[in-house]
């Protein structure tokens, strides 16, 4: 089937569509009404989530501050204090990084205007976004491992006997594997396939 034949088939489709009604006004009205209701609910939900995330952020900062001042309150050794500092700085930077990343993604998606931007521009932006999702999943996996290393060091596990260390490392590695497996398999895997497929398909747009 070449282009002329494709045209014939296309005309067949056109002819068929001319005979039938695709949609009626009631269906569209119903869809709009549902959309309006859902949008209102989502807005309320979003406001709830924003309040919740702000609360979590404040609690997180309070907990970090508390951890930060704990050593001076309880006269904890200098070595221990420096380790707690490293751990809190690590967590603090991770939280700030996460907030920055979420904001960046949100702004990117919000600025992708499908009614104003041409197809190639929207596709490029979607491609970029999907590559970021992929990078995000890899980064979270790496973060889990780095966090465990820092935690291991902060808790002085490296000073324990070899047998204890072997057990601890075994438990931590197993825990990491389980978390990363669930992250990929249950949350990201289904989408990763789609993302990969979409990235491959959209790549030809970027070869302009």
């Amino acid at each position: 089937m070449e282009l002329d034949e494709l045209k014939k088939s296309w005309n067949t489709l056109n002819e068929q569509l001319q005979k039938e009604s695709i949609t009626n006004d009631e269906q569209v009205i119903e869809l709009i009404t549902r959309y309006k209701d859902n949008a209102n609910k989502s807005l309320k939900c979003l406001t709830g989530w924003q309040r919740f995330s702000i609360t979590i952020g404040i609690v997180g900062i309070l907990v970090l501050s508390l951890i930060w001042i704990l050593p001076s309150l309880f006269h904890i050794s200098e070595e221990c204090q420096s380790k707690i500092n490293v751990l809190t700085i690590f967590i603090g930077i991770s939280i700030l990084g996460g907030i920055w990343w979420d904001c960046k993604n949100y702004i990117w998606i919000k600025n992708t205007k499908i009614d104003e931007m041409p197809v190639s521009v929207v596709s490029k932006r979607m491609l970029q976004f999907r590559q970021w999702i992929k990078a995000e999943i890899i980064t979270i996996s790496a973060w889990i491992i780095v966090f465990n290393v820092v935690y291991y060091w902060a808790m002085n596990f490296n000073k324990a006997s070899i047998a204890v260390q072997a057990i601890l490392i075994g438990i931590i590695v197993l825990g990491d594997v389980v978390i990363i497996y669930f992250l990929y398999k249950k949350i990201a895997y289904k989408h990763l396939d789609n993302i990969k497929k979409n990235i491959d398909e959209l790549k030809d747009i970027c070869s302009e």
Binding site: M1, E20, S21, T23, R34, D115, P118, S120, S123, N194
Partner: protein, 161 residues
């Protein structure tokens, strides 16, 4: 009913076949015709108040429909399955030859890349190169080159078939 809604309905009524055809070509097992159709209609509704008539309404509709279909990843079903928009269209009864023709059309076009699919769709809709360029954001020369490349691809596919 509000004026905006009435105006929107008449636009949807006029362009329902256009939307259907775009969705038809981008249907996948994960994104059914009905899902895509609803998503496109909703996106047109969301963008409708912002439409400034700087371009032809058909150009605008094609842009939204193509962008929606290409960007559509079904992370979750945001839209409840309330309406089967394409019910009527699904019931189209073709004779075997026509059905075969449509199946082949779908199969051939689906072997093309996302952007090629958009270009060939607009070409089959007999849009001028200038309008295809406006919708896709590519240059007219690029469109011509791509159409020629698509023709070659179709020829190869035809031989392989």
């Amino acid at each position: 009913m509000e004026n905006v809604e009435q105006e929107f309905l008449s636009v949807i009524h006029e362009y329902s076949r256009v939307i259907y055809k775009v969705c038809y070509l981008y249907t996948t097992p994960n994104a059914t015709l009905n899902d895509l159709y609803q998503e496109v209609v909703l996106n047109i509704w969301k963008a409708f108040p912002k439409f400034r008539k700087e371009c032809k309404i058909s150009t605008w509709i094609y842009r939204i429909a193509l962008n929606t279909c290409i960007s559509f990843i079904r992370k979750e079903k945001n839209i409840p399955e309330i309406i089967s928009f394409t019910q009527e269209a699904d019931r189209i009864e073709e004779d075997d030859d026509k059905q075969l023709m449509l199946n082949k059309l779908y199969w051939m076009i689906n072997k093309l890349g996302q952007l090629e699919k958009s270009i060939i769709l607009l070409y089959l809709e007999e849009k001028k190169y200038e309008e295809i360029a406006e919708i896709t954001g590519l240059s007219v020369t690029n469109i011509a080159t791509r159409i020629s490349r698509i023709k070659d691809k179709l020829r190869v596919m035809n031989k392989e078939d």
